[in-house]
Amino acid sequence: MLETTVLSGHHDALSKQKRNSQLMTISTDNELRTGQWEDALTLVAINQDKAAYAELFKYFAPRLRAFGIKMFGNEQQAMEMVQDAMLNVWRKARLFDASRGCASTWIFTIARNVRFDMLRKKQSRKDDISADDLWFDGDYPEQESNSSDNWDTMLMSEKLAPHFDALPPAQRMVMQKVYLEEKSHQEVSDELAIPLGTVKSRIRLALDRLRGALDDTRS
């Protein structure tokens, strides 16, 4: 069900880098920097490294279980989801592409899709909407511009201050470090022990929220 990915080639990675250097005024951090889980997945992909997989498993399986219990409301289905998702991680490790996101994101989407298809199957439906229909596992063509990048200049204006306080705590923390303490994305990533991609994501989400808040006050 989850087999719609292949490793994207060098071309993709290069064009992404090029785009970043042109458009990312906030930072020029290298997106391809990998961490321990990305490295572990690569080892599993290359030679089915059981030790590397066991490390991944020890970290992610209990977390997926907690996630599953939250979503299903029961232990048995949660464990079924963990086994299915972690089996996919083992079998499809070579489909993981670090240039497109971090390991935890890849594993999260696998678990989300497994869970979705489990729920649909339970209702014994044929010809139905599947996780593969709903969540595209690949790259959309590069676009000319991402308007949220232009919003950093607006950020400090007083208009935004009250909305800034209303941001979800995780996003506000990142925004504060980047915009008020003027730290680099990498520094924030190290300091909060979260992946660099997550720092960037939270910034963009926060910017989008702030823009939404501004639009509301205008209309």
């Binding site: 719609t4 089915q48 070579r94 935890s104 594993i107 991609g197 994501s201």
Partner: protein, 229 residues
């Protein structure tokens, strides 16, 4: 795709889409919108990263159910990995597919490609044609084709109506909608969508309840509401 998408799903809808907690047909409309909308492609990617980070930030006790974990781990690593040939079959670029109606062929988004292959046959009524997509939900998912210069009679929604413009343009009392625009009408919203004189329109329509037609002779359509539903 040069048209700038103006009508997007709200942030909360996108968050539920990423989480996987929307009902499948509503998620399908959101997914097809994302296929057509670079802005929401970025947003949903960011939301995915954010939710994945929440997954890793969860507190777990490491010594829980150790025996069960060990046997699961042993089972998994005894399984063969996916062969490279099977892994190489798929593509990372969205696949293009199309539907043909009224002698016209339209490209449709990736999210609808597989289901559109199994679409029911087109039912035509005046300048309007619909074809159901086989989804087994309470909501009804169909492709809706409106020929140029055609008005869909004024109607009220008994439930939620989501309309995603896939090709062409549609106009109603509230505005003009182009490719990628997602209209969400709640119960009690009343509108009269129509096409312009020189451009037809293909939409994805997701309905949670039949439409009710309001005016004059079109009330005669109400027994025919199954056509739209």
């Amino acid at each position: 795709m040069t048209h700038a998408v103006k009508f997007h799903p709200g942030l909360m809808l996108l968050e539920q889409y990423v989480e996987g907690s929307l009902s499948a047909d509503v998620a399908l409309a959101v997914s097809a919108h994302i296929d057509l909308c670079p802005h929401c492609q970025h947003l949903s990617k960011d939301i995915t990263n954010d939710q994945a980070a929440e997954l890793t930030e969860q507190q777990v006790s490491s010594r829980d159910a150790e025996q069960e974990w060990q046997s699961m781990l042993d089972f998994i690593t005894s399984q063969p990995a996916l062969s490279p040939s099977r892994a190489g079959l798929a593509s990372t670029s969205p696949q293009v597919s199309s539907v043909t109606v009224n002698g016209r062929t339209f490209e449709i988004p990736r999210a609808l490609a597989r289901l559109a292959e199994k679409q029911n046959k087109w039912l035509q009524l005046g300048g309007i044609a619909t074809a159901k997509l086989p989804t087994a939900d309470k909501q009804h998912v169909s492709l809706l084709y409106i020929d140029k210069g055609t008005e869909v009679p004024n109607h009220t929604h008994l439930g939620l109506e989501m309309t995603l413009v896939l090709a062409g343009k549609i106009v109603d009392e509230n505005g003009e909608y182009g490719v990628g625009d997602l209209l969400i009408n709640s119960p009690d919203d009343t509108h009269t969508p129509r096409t312009l004189a020189d451009e037809d329109c293909l939409c994805l329509s997701v309905l949670s309840a039949p439409l009710k037609f309001n005016k004059g002779l079109t009330r005669l359509l109400n027994p025919l509401q199954q056509f739209f539903y």
